[in-house]
Point group: D2
Chain length 382, copies 4
């Protein structure tokens, strides 16, 4: 069987540029599809960096202007791995050029901008997806299956946290390569858009839409040197963000994110409590799903630590990897997402989350930030 090449045009070469590129390299070694990604071109403003990245990963060519890249005839897919403030313009232009688009999360700076992106890709009828990669961690996908099978019964609670500690140092600057996440102009928001966005995406996938929220944010370090201006400037992002609220199914939400939780590197955790089963997960041990099954015999009921590494179809994605007990890494979540995207192209049924799916997260982010500002409960827009 000869495969159809899918020519990738990558914009950006940072952490996510590497993670996505790795996925394009890996996917065909482990997963079957009629489509095969080809590393056609990488784009960066700095030509030397683009060249170096292309050489490291095997991209066939480079560009230094993304407008040229999105106009190239030999490109099928545009992958957007640049700071959040650039997503919309690139995506809309790429859509106009008829390209499929894979966009880093969060989709946009806010839901208004996100809506324009959704309209652009839907008008252009191009395949589109947002890189909320945690849906494709096998343990998380298994959680989704258990919920869809009705194992949990009525849901009462959904709790999620994403805790980090890397910005506690007050002499860390804001802005520029690697630190744009601290710069409001580039990031649009702080931990809410960067970290809670992941928590929210997983939550609505697992537990359905949210209806109302109430939120507080905090900026612990008020001023930081800005690497672009060279001056100490006000910090505009949220360092920490806590919100509670209600899901449409009546369950309660409790979400928190911060970069000031000493001892946590990337502690994305969630727990969902159902009438008959509860589930828990922790990114720090991403290969495990915690399961409490109330239907177990009562004297030996307890939280089960399920090592989601069986190479059987029951453990999502894992039959393509190694043997039971041998774990895969964080990076595999991207490989799985590409695999699902390719399967979507094979079958004509696009993989989630699409831009429209991701817009819902954006609307919740808008609602929580408005609530933090007004100190009022806010209904999530639909």
């Amino acid at each position: 069987m000869s495969k159809k090449n899918l020519n990738i045009g990558m914009i950006g070469y940072g952490f996510m540029g590497r993670a996505h590129t790795n996925a394009y390299c890996q996917v065909s070694h482990f997963f079957d599809s009629q489509h095969k990604p080809v590393l056609k071109a990488v784009c960066a403003r700095d030509e030397a960096k683009a060249k170096s990245f292309a050489e490291q990963w095997g991209y066939e060519s480079i560009e230094t202007d993304w407008r040229k890249l999105v106009a190239r005839k030999d490109i099928d897919v545009i992958d957007i791995c640049v700071p959040n403030n650039l997503h919309a313009e690139i995506a809309i232009e790429a859509a106009k050029n008829g390209k499929m688009i894979l966009c880093e999360k969060p989709l946009a700076m806010d839901s208004a901008q996100g809506l324009k992106m959704v309209e652009a890709v839907e008008k252009a009828k191009v395949a589109n997806m947002v890189w909320y990669n945690y849906r494709r961690i096998p343990a998380v996908t298994l959680a989704k299956r258990l919920i869809d099978e009705g194992k949990l019964g009525k849901i009462f609670h959904y709790r999620a946290k994403f805790l980090q500690d890397w910005t506690i140092k007050s002499d860390l600057p804001q802005g520029g390569q690697g630190l744009w996440r601290l710069d409001l102009a580039a990031a649009g928001a702080g931990v809410s858009g960067d970290l809670l966005a992941h928590c929210i995406d997983t939550a609505i996938w697992l537990n359905g839409p949210m209806s109302t929220v109430s939120c507080m944010t905090e900026t612990f370090v008020k001023e930081r040197m800005h690497t672009l201006t060279g001056k100490v400037e006000k910090v505009g992002i949220d360092d920490a963000c806590i919100f509670f609220g209600k899901f449409a199914n009546g369950s309660l939400a409790n979400f928190e994110s911060t970069r000031y939780a000493r001892g946590h590197k990337a502690a994305y955790t969630f727990e969902i409590n159902g009438e008959n089963m509860s589930l828990g997960w922790d990114l720090h041990d991403l290969h495990r799903l915690q399961v409490f099954d109330y239907t177990d015999e009562s004297k030996i009921r307890g939280w089960k630590s399920v090592h989601v590494t069986d190479n059987s179809p029951e453990h999502p994605y894992m039959e393509k990897w190694w043997v039971p007990g041998l774990s895969i890494g964080y990076d595999a979540s991207f490989t799985h997402q590409v695999a699902d995207f390719l399967t979507g192209l094979d079958t004509g049924k696009t993989a989630s989350p699409t831009f429209r799916d991701a817009l819902e997260t954006q609307q919740i982010l808008d609602a929580i930030l408005e609530s933090a500002k007004t100190k009022q409960w806010v209904s999530v827009a639909k």
Copy 2:
């Protein structure tokens, strides 16, 4: 050395009546003091139950009317172990009779009532204490010491949860023996007063006062059969309660309690994140303190699970018990609290939390319940 007897008059014979009585029995076997509790009398409306309890535990006499008990000349201490709606009347009358008072938590139905109790004991100048026993779990006391030593540096976050799952069944009735905690009239509130009260007491002890809060509550099961009326009646208590807010030291609070978290029996957990150290604790493994020490050598930094069982003075209370590695139970927290109360009598310096200390928790409970009702941020009264 001959010890001074301290004659106990116990009101109530339920779970807490047993836990306190056990502590009175145990304390002199393990801890030194010039005072020694004597089980003088137990009071219950049901004479047969009072007798049975007295026989089981060795109380010398019984009463069926608490007013008689608090008037008895041979009683030094009144211990109040009855539903919350009875605390104030008994405590105020006991104070008038010059008795020392040990009152179950929460102190009162609300802070207005609590204030009257504080005024009564302070006017009567009687020793008084509220049974927030978790302060005396050795791992929790160790946390307090580490904080007081300044090990944590600036505090950013304090998170606490108290999760249970015993009221999920909708055919569980409300009211009466063992189930008065579901009856608004007897309990005054639901999980907020029953469970969050513990979380708040520990928090203000460890991290200082709270300034403002925002809260939501939920009652999942709206109606339950009432065992006293025999009719299905509206459930008035909160089944779940989530709040966030700020401590006076600028750190953020995130608190949650529920009786609908399947898989959790009595999962009281807290975590406190400081600039230089973070601490965590879980009632389900009460003998462990989780410690992340940022001053550790960076390549071997990690969360330490400290088994707080060394029989050395460094592990609070533990030198009085067994040998390293051998744990004590939940019940020991009450024994420690009595030990500290007796030491307070020895030295003339009363043990915490006094009624006044516990009033602060009551004020925070008032604030969160008002916030839940008004859907507004509320400042904590001082």
Copy 3:
């Protein structure tokens, strides 16, 4: 109902003297029986220490000569809490005097001596028991029930370890109060008799008799100051002991004990692997039983951490204590053992392990020490 008093004569006042006495105090508060222990007399060679202990715990009288104690008419039970080399003489004399005997473990210095003790109590027809208390940790008792129900199927492996680290310091002396466990003359053996004895007792209770063993021992610190002679003397005990072998049911044994495992205080752990279920336990978290149930649905199979604290009959002993989630301590294992002993007296069916039951452990200890000496496999005597 009036209870029959059971007058206790305690010999010894050390760690175990306290643990047993505590159990006599606690048992009637929590467990029902027609018998009730009474603290009649404590015996110690040092009169002042005997008096102090009697005052602390409420013993009615003291003795300084155990021969007088065992001859006293008002004593029903002799409890032997002295170093191992004194067990036999006291027990045999007590049996002659018709006393019930509760003896600390290990039963004797070796199986020959143990056999004489067994013959003495069986000839005298007195109730007798050895304090292998870990059988009465609720999680361990639950393991026994699961095995007896046939849940595990064919057993393949039984592993046990008891790791400590308190003798690593080479300047720790041997002999005398608190350190007699390092003195061969008083202890008879090192970690084998002190720690592996516990592991073996639990193992044969759960998994049946052992048939053959092969063992190695090591003494890391060859000489220590002797507190009784004041001189540096050869250390005769085993500091570490490892053995493997076979159980009669065909399963394999792997046992290890040491006092040189830095980081372990009293890490008694066992794991048993059956065809259909595996079980694990750790004294450091004694309230949990780890259960892997192969009959669970395959995609959510995992090790369950069962918090054995439900106040239902399904969780052994726990319905007598608090509410679900609230743990009991190490000390409760002794209380449970006394409770079972009293129930044995009520029903005329003696509680295990009797002296004869404990002799089996002694025979295995003899076999492993012989194997360590001869470097050959040794069959366990029957």
Copy 4:
């Protein structure tokens, strides 16, 4: 900088063929070297399977006779990924042809055969390495660094286990693709050669040579259908293997492996107890190193769970991957091993373990199997 191509000739296409090939693909994306692996040819007796594998992974050509492959001028490296009984012949022939050789573990069927392989590669002066990949798990490499820094002080104990449960079913056949590990003729031994070989390799790397051992083995299922003969035949391999012994540094060894430990998929664990520090590791959570540091302040001493994922040079290999907290998979251990092999070629200093290094593991395997047969202690050959 233009890199020197290193043409790989892969023999085999099973689990290990995939794992190694993946490493060749990944290494240049993440690690720097002057050498770059090129997937030149894959060899399998079944032409269709060779073709399919080549297509999946991008090998340029195929062979169906390994003798042709090892004779090809365009091949630099022979990678041996076939059953153990074929290692020696291929390796010796490849050495004669001047090829570098990367051989799957265990090196050989026994140490006599292994010695011939060592002599062949040393005579031919070709770079050689054995795929004991667990040395390159970052947490394990970190353990090595801590030991080399002297952090542990005197070592008392080294314990290792490798537990699986996949052969409990008695109707599982032996022999043929995927099941050759159960066939004595192909595998040479059971869990000893397959699993304990890993444990031993890590142990001697971390803790130095072993001097004497005593061992037992067991075959639980005595007969299994043989897929090659179609008949029920005696099972010749060891299903379980336990040994203890001494390291040259005086520390005690306790090793165990089995495929009958229900609940364990690939539970390779080790623990090493030193005077000042103890370390533990578990393949099921391979990104964590457990560290007990006795030099910590005594009141907060405890086992630390170090998440070995910092992208700093202090966490071996991790600076080449993602950001702190994001784990890598089992497969990365092979990538790291290739990276070290390439660095060895760059610098002229070959990476460990060489064939000679791996011979030591073979000698220990010989000793334990002899001990299991003779039931005597056996000295390890040097």
